[in-house]
């Protein structure tokens, strides 16, 4: 069983204008002291059609985590509108909160999100190019969808074993300094980047 149980997620500042940061107040309980930090992510699904348009809005480490009940507020900037297909801007999509321990995802909390114009005029005749300043984001906070995954809580032996088995010539084993060319230049990076895989 998971050492960490999410007891509640309260969606703050909801509904809100599209450009407002996401705010989730997360309450979780931990059965025993954790040796490492938890990593939380907020993923915005840009389009129902493809994972290509997923955006990781932010990722935070949470720690140290002793046994007990804890809470924190996870705030992340709104998605980068430039990466959302225009046809998917208005309507229903999903925001996901995931938590990983030792790089293993053990819980995924999903919410439906509805983006709508507040102005009846715009609702009737939406502009072809979405006007994000007029959009309102509404998270269906009452209906979280929680999926839990079985992970190995006892140490990262699994990963160590993996790295041992990896072909030493593969990129993953190269020191980081060997790979600068593969990273996109910083200046081109938008505020929020896209999940490329």
């Amino acid at each position: 069983m998971a050492k960490v149980q999410v007891l509640n997620v309260a969606v703050l500042d909801n509904p809100s204008p599209f450009g407002n940061p996401f705010q989730f107040e997360i309450t979780f309980e931990c059965m025993e002291d954790l040796a490492e930090d938890l990593e939380w992510k907020i993923i915005y699904v840009g389009s129902a059609e493809s994972e290509e348009y997923d955006q990781i809005l932010d990722s935070v480490l949470v720690g140290p985590v002793p046994a007990g009940r804890h809470m924190f507020v996870f705030q992340a900037d709104a998605p980068n509108t430039g990466l959302i297909p225009e046809s998917d801007a208005v309507g229903v999509t999903v925001v996901l909160i995931t938590c990983t321990y030792r790089s293993q995802e053990f819980i995924r909390i999903g919410y439906y999100v509805n983006n709508e114009y507040t102005d009846p005029e715009l609702r009737e005749n939406p502009p072809i190019k979405p006007d994000y300043t007029q959009l309102q984001r509404n998270i269906l906070a009452s209906n979280p969808r929680v999926t839990r995954f079985h992970i190995n809580w006892e140490g990262c032996a699994e990963r160590m074993e993996d790295s041992e088995n990896v072909d030493p010539s593969s990129n993953s084993m190269l020191p980081p300094s060997c790979l600068p060319g593969k990273a996109p230049p910083l200046g081109v990076l938008p505020d929020n980047s896209m999940d490329c895989l």
Binding site: M1, V6, L7, N8, L12, D13, N14, P15, N20, Q23, E25, T27, M31, K41, I43, A48, E51, I56, D58, S59, V60, L61, V62, G63, A67, G68, R69, M71, V73, Q75, D77, V92, T93, S103, E105, N114, E116, T118, R123, N138, L140, A141, S142, R145, R148, H150, E154, G155, A157, E158, E161, D162, S172, S177, A183, L186, N192, D195, C196, L197
Partner: protein, 972 residues
């Protein structure tokens, strides 16, 4: 109920609730239900009586088995996620929902997982608590059975290996001597609990079986005489095989089911034929009752006294029966099925017979096994007994608390030790904290520039007063939010009384459905906005439902999330050099995640194994360390001598000394050594050194006795060779070849004139200021050096040395000057100077002593006290101890004796004991009652004994009676 399969059902020992285990939506599910609505229709209709008490979604995969511990405090569950979880009811009261659960029903009771037992590498199919909840057994498709120490979770006792197929069922022998398992490998195996080895392997009835059932839940009859298997075959027909305890014979079976038997469950009661009113009572054999469930969807109930089933119920379910549970009364039964339903069956006494009460059941056990199940098995029965005395209640509660604190799984700290919520919060209300949490929470950057939030600890585990209601409360909006002004009226309307009533039952705050009423105070424009918005929201909510394209995103783990890097760099402004590193790790993550789940699970299993091996090693090392230490203790002779005084000299003498030449000499004498030394006392440290035949003076041999006490030496010369020497912290004694006994103070002063012994000394002991000498002529003498008085004079051992070959194997002297003699025939005697006779204090060959139950009453924390000499000699009768004047030991054994009597339930003996301790309430000249024994006030002793008596509710009247009298006496 749900239509997901229910694999297991178990009724709580108190009969007020039951647990089910099965498949949830995307996890395993354990649910605890209220029994009352099942039993009574009016309770079912009463909406105020909850049906579901708690649901737990923690198992990641289907739950195959749920079992309550015999004491009802714990629930164990095992599932396809390879885990066994042990649950305990949490202290806090009040409903809460499981976060993210589709069902919005609140949990009435809070059950929390107190320990997770990880060891199995495959689905856990069955779990079973041993009688008295000493062990928990679990079996798995990994072909093993694991025995867990239920008093010290998650400690493993052992793993039973031997099955070559999926193990699908477990049952404990009610006497606790065996555990039986049934597996897909066409075998039923019986394992001994003494050494955890296989006792029997029964294969014949199963050779024709195909591995087609999900479970093979076998069961042991309450009298322990029969074991009934699940799926067996006889002449190609499915049966439930009866295995007799006597020789594990398989001559009988339950026949009639058309498909494989999945579950067998014995009724916990033993029955006897119901006596009809008026008819003369006929002696009849007690019998058991057994329910058999099958894949053919039918249930049969059998009495061992009938050749045909008592009742067969066909088509009870749409799918296979998976589990059966009887109520402790034996008259009700829950049956669950793969079709997701549970059925309750109710029997009358006319149908089943008269259930034997616990006493009668115990006496059957006593007759068969020579041992009753005693206190624990009756406890469940007694839980319904009304506690009549607040003191008894107090003792019972204290006992439960200490039991929970000591033996609770996982050794969880008692609730009381958890700090109060307020102290955690520094007096701030939780609402205040939540308002400012975002601003107040500590956020730092790690070395690689990542955000790191320190979570606010709002409660220790198991804080009783923490209200879970919080989790569904209204979200608090950060004051800085741009929406706050717009939403303020909404919030205030929420808290207005009219609105609150409509919101009252909603478990969560649902902004989508909140329609803000036109607010008089707010501006018209805002009102409009709100009105429009609410309608918009309602439409959007309805629009959301059919969006199934997104649903998969909720459940699928993201394949990779390398975008993190970019997100971080954008906020943290990382240098380009840092980024690729993150990208690399992300890629690696992706790789791990893309592996097939089974692969990674296997790996995980392997790692788990490694881990347990890793853990074991140090244990082994520790063991080794202990052995070494023990050996070290044993090696230096000095220590041992100090502990047992001069005894080592008698021991070698038996081997070395030639048989006494003279017939008079019954006992061997030690041979004279050239020199020897011994430590006679540790505190102060006194060493004794003897050197014989040091010098010849005028033809006579002189021997030297040297003594060093706390570093100060003295020595003296003796005219004859020293044969034995002994000493205590106060005195030293030496016996010489010329049969002279000399006694010195530890500083070298002669305390007694030289004593002429009749025959050479065989053994010599000193203790405190007493000297004991055992002569070769088999006589015993004890002197009190301080009082210069003989306590025992030349008492012959011939009375106790019956039989030609009997010799003295051990002798010692207690601190009170009581001589104790251990004989080679296993008997031990002491000489009582007041009775002037030998008294038997222990007899190893006495089979009664060997089988005595008092050992089971030894409380573990008392063991240091048992190191007294009598523990060595195996004391049994209290009066013996009294003879030996061992004050502390008397107290110790008295309490043991009381506990023994309490456990055995012999009230008249307890009463006699209490009476003796209490003495007459009114003083009269005629009584000869001594208020003290061995310097202990008897009434004080009674005060100590009473809590022991209070532990068994059956004796609460006795407890009350003597408690009151003690109070009365104290007030006088």
């Amino acid at each position: 109920m749900l239509c997901k399969p229910i694999f297991s059902v178990d009724i709580h020992p108190d009969g007020t609730k039951f647990a089910t285990g099965g498949q949830g939506e995307d996890s395993g599910k354990v649910m605890i239900w209220n029994m009352a609505p099942v039993l009574r229709e009016e309770d079912e209709k009463n909406e105020n009586i909850p049906k579901m008490l708690c649901q737990m979604d923690n198992h990641l995969a289907c739950v195959n088995c749920v079992r309550w511990s015999n004491n009802g405090l714990y629930l164990a569950s095992g599932g396809d996620d390879k885990l066994v979880m042990v649950w305990r009811r949490a202290a806090f009261i009040g409903p809460s929902t499981v976060f993210g659960s589709s069902s919005k029903l609140a949990n009435v009771e809070q059950w929390r997982c107190v320990t997770i037992l990880r060891n199995h590498t495959g689905d856990v199919m069955d779990v079973a608590w041993s009688p008295h909840d000493v062990w928990l057994a679990s079996c798995s498709v990994d072909n093993t059975i694991v025995i867990w120490n239920a008093r010290k979770f998650p400690e493993m006792v052992t793993t039973l290996r031997g099955h070559t197929g999926l193990v699908k069922g477990l049952t404990w022998d009610p006497v606790g001597k065996y555990i039986a398992s049934q597996a897909d490998d066409h075998s039923l195996k019986v394992w001994r609990t003494v050494d955890w080895q296989m006792e029997a392997n029964i294969t014949k009835p199963f050779s024709e079986c195909g591995g087609t059932t999900h479970v093979l839940r076998l069961s042991w009859s309450p009298d322990g005489q029969y074991l009934v298997s699940a799926h067996a075959m006889n002449n190609s027909g499915p049966t439930a095989q009866i295995v007799e305890r006597d020789g594990w014979k398989t001559n009988m079976d339950f026949v009639g089911h058309r498909k494989a038997v999945t579950v067998v469950k014995f009724n916990p009661k033993i029955f006897k034929k119901k006596q009809k009113n008026g008819s003369s009572p006929k002696p009849s054999c007690p019998y058991c009752c057994c329910a058999v469930g099958s894949k053919d969807r039918s249930l049969s109930v059998w009495l061992t006294s009938l050749k045909r089933p008592l009742v067969v119920i066909h088509d009870l379910f749409d799918k296979s029966i998976m589990d059966i549970s009887w109520t402790l009364t034996g008259l009700g039964m829950l049956v669950c099925s793969m079709d997701g339903t549970v059925a309750y069956l109710d029997f009358s006494l006319d149908e089943l017979g008269d259930p034997l009460n616990e006493e009668e059941k115990n006496s059957i056990h006593q007759n068969i096994y020579g041992k009753s199940l005693a206190i624990t098995s009756t406890e469940a029965q007694l839980s319904t007994t009304i506690i009549e005395n607040p003191e008894v209640l107090k003792y019972q509660q204290e006992r439960q608390n200490s039991a929970q604190a000591n033996s609770g799984p996982g050794g969880a700290a008692p609730e009381s030790s958890a700090p109060k919520l307020n102290s955690v919060m520094n007096g701030e209300s939780l609402e205040d904290i939540r308002k400012n949490l975002l601003k107040k929470q500590v956020e730092t950057r790690t070395a690689d520039g990542r955000r790191r939030i320190t979570p606010l600890c709002i409660a220790q585990l198991d804080t009783g007063d923490f209200s879970p209601a919080l989790f569904n409360s209204v979200p608090i909006l950060p004051s800085g939010s741009s929406m706050s002004s717009q939403l303020t009226p909404q919030l205030s309307s929420d808290s207005s009384p009219g609105q609150a009533s409509s919101m009252g039952l909603k478990p969560t705050h649902d902004p989508m459905l909140t329609s803000p009423p036109p607010n008089n105070t707010a501006k018209p424009l805002e009102d409009n906005n709100d009105g429009v918005k609410s309608s918009l929201l309602l439409t959007s909510a309805s629009k959301i439902e059919p969006m199934k394209a997104l649903d998969s995103r909720f459940t699928e783990r993201s394949k990779a999330t390398p975008g993190v890097t970019a997100a971080i760099s954008s906020t943290a402004g990382l240098t380009p050099l840092d980024r690729p590193k993150d990208g690399v790790t992300a890629q690696k993550e992706a790789k791990t995640k893309e592996e097939t789940s089974s692969d990674s699970e296997d790996k995980m299993a392997a790692i788990n194994k490694n881990l347990t091996f890793g853990k074991r090693k140090p244990e082994l090392l520790l063991d080794g360390g202990e052995v070494v230490e023990k050996r070290k203790k044993g090696r230096p002779r000095k220590d041992k001598m100090a502990a047992s005084m001069a005894q080592p000299f008698t021991q070698p003498s038996k081997v070395v000394a030639p048989p006494a030449p003279v017939a008079v000499l019954k006992l061997p004498t030690p041979s004279t050594q050239k020199a020897f030394s011994l430590q006679v006392s540790m505190e102060p440290s006194v060493f004794l050194e003897v050197e014989n035949e040091v010098s010849m003076v005028a033809g006579s041999k002189l021997s030297q006795l040297r003594c060093s006490r706390d570093g100060r030496d003295w020595n003296t010369l003796l005219p004859s060779s020293v044969v034995v020497a002994a000493g205590s912290s106060d005195i030293l004694a030496v016996a010489c070849e010329d049969r002279m006994l000399s006694v010195f103070s530890s500083c070298g002063r002669r305390l007694l004139p030289a004593i002429q012994l009749g025959t050479p000394a065989s053994a010599l002991h000193c203790s405190a200021h007493y000297v004991m000498v055992l002569t070769a002529g088999a006589t015993l003498s004890v002197w009190d050096v301080q009082k210069q008085k003989a306590l025992v004079k030349n008492e012959s051992l011939l009375t106790i040395l019956s039989g030609a070959d009997t010799t003295v194997s051990q002798s010692l002297l207690t601190q009170q000057g009581v001589p104790v003699i251990g004989l080679s025939n296993g008997k031990s005697y002491c000489f009582s100077s007041s009775l002037e006779t030998w008294t038997l204090i222990a007899d190893k060959s006495d089979s009664l002593v060997q089988c005595a139950d008092f050992r089971s009453c030894l409380p573990s924390h008392d063991t240091p006290a048992s190191s007294g000499p009598l523990a060595v000699m195996q004391g049994r009768n209290l009066n013996n101890i009294k003879c030996n004047k061992e004050t502390q030991e008397y107290r110790y054994w008295l309490l043991i004796y009381a506990r023994f009597l309490v456990n055995e339930g012999s009230e008249y003996r307890l009463r006699e004991l209490c009476k003796e301790l209490l003495g007459p309430v009114h003083k009269s000249a005629a009584t000869s009652w001594e208020p003290t024994t061995l310097g202990l006030r008897k009434r004080e002793l009674l005060r100590e004994v009473l809590p022991v008596i209070g532990e068994n509710l059956r004796f609460q009247r006795l407890f009350t009676e003597y408690q009151d009298q003690l109070e009365l006496l104290r007030n006088k």
